[in-house]
């Protein structure tokens, strides 16, 4: 696609429910990232996928968070048993490769705004 696409744009869920957030990266981009943007913590790295390599999950805040990337393209971030502190904007990004290089820009989507009530 022309840009990184995320859905849903906004999601309100009840505490304790599971939610799935979807990211469709730019076609041909091998690297995919999830970041979380919250008022208290700012922007935090969550997880990174690069091709068929094992993902870097070091930023996931708890075992309630998981993510997968199917076929090297679309990614889904799942939050189980949501808590109020999970309320945030979840940003997905993609790039041609997963390292700094001339012309290798990280492109972000518009994010999914999650509110847990």
């Amino acid at each position: 696609g022309a840009g990184v696409s995320q859905s849903p744009s906004n999601k309100v869920t009840e505490k304790g429910k599971d939610v799935e957030l979807r990211c469709d990266p730019i076609s041909g981009h091998t690297a995919l990232y999830w970041y979380r943007q919250s008022l208290g913590q700012g922007l935090e790295f969550l997880i990174y996928f690069q091709g068929n390599s094992a993902p870097d999950k070091s930023g996931l805040p708890s075992d309630r968070f998981s993510a997968e990337r199917t076929g090297g393209s679309v990614s889904t971030l799942t939050i189980q048993r949501t808590q109020q502190e999970d309320s945030a904007v979840y940003l997905c990004a993609s790039s041609l490769v997963g390292r700094p290089a001339p012309g290798n820009t990280i492109y972000f989507g518009e994010g999914s705004w999650l509110t847990v009530v």
Binding site: A31, Y33, Y35, G42, L43, F45, Y48, Q50, D56, G59, V89, L91, A93, S95, G98, R99, P100, T105, I106, Y107, F108, G109, E110, G111, W113
Partner: protein, 114 residues
């Protein structure tokens, strides 16, 4: 661990004037990259400008330029001829040369007034 500090939570500027946003960072790395991202109300993070630490020349992109002071670990963004569309949150970010994770500052909310 790397840290990025933006000391100005909010700034405002009149249209057509020049404004400078501050950013300092702390790292022991010698190979790294610095970025300024813009986030308008649409929430999409847009890359404004990037600087490779090994380059002495300051990066420029049209009305946007940086003042990169490596020894002082300072990376400020200058916006010339400010436009109403420049109103946004601006984030300074750091990336190690061998890595792919961005470390962001807390952001500066810039408002351009007509």
């Amino acid at each position: 661990a790397q840290t990025v500090t933006q000391s100005q939570p909010e700034m405002s500027v009149q249209e057509a004037e020049t404004v400078t946003l501050s950013c300092t960072y702390d790292t022991s790395e010698s190979n790294y990259y610095l970025f300024w991202y813009k986030q308008p109300p649409s929430r999409q993070m847009i890359l404004v400008i990037r600087q490779e630490a090994y380059k002495q020349q300051n990066a420029t992109e049209n009305r946007f330029s940086v003042n990169f002071q490596k020894a002082a670990k300072s990376f400020s963004l200058k916006i010339s001829d400010s436009q109403l569309g420049d109103t946004a949150m601006y984030f300074c970010a750091f990336m190690r040369g061998s890595n792919y994770k961005l470390t962001f500052g807390k952001g500066t909310l810039l408002t351009v007034n007509p």
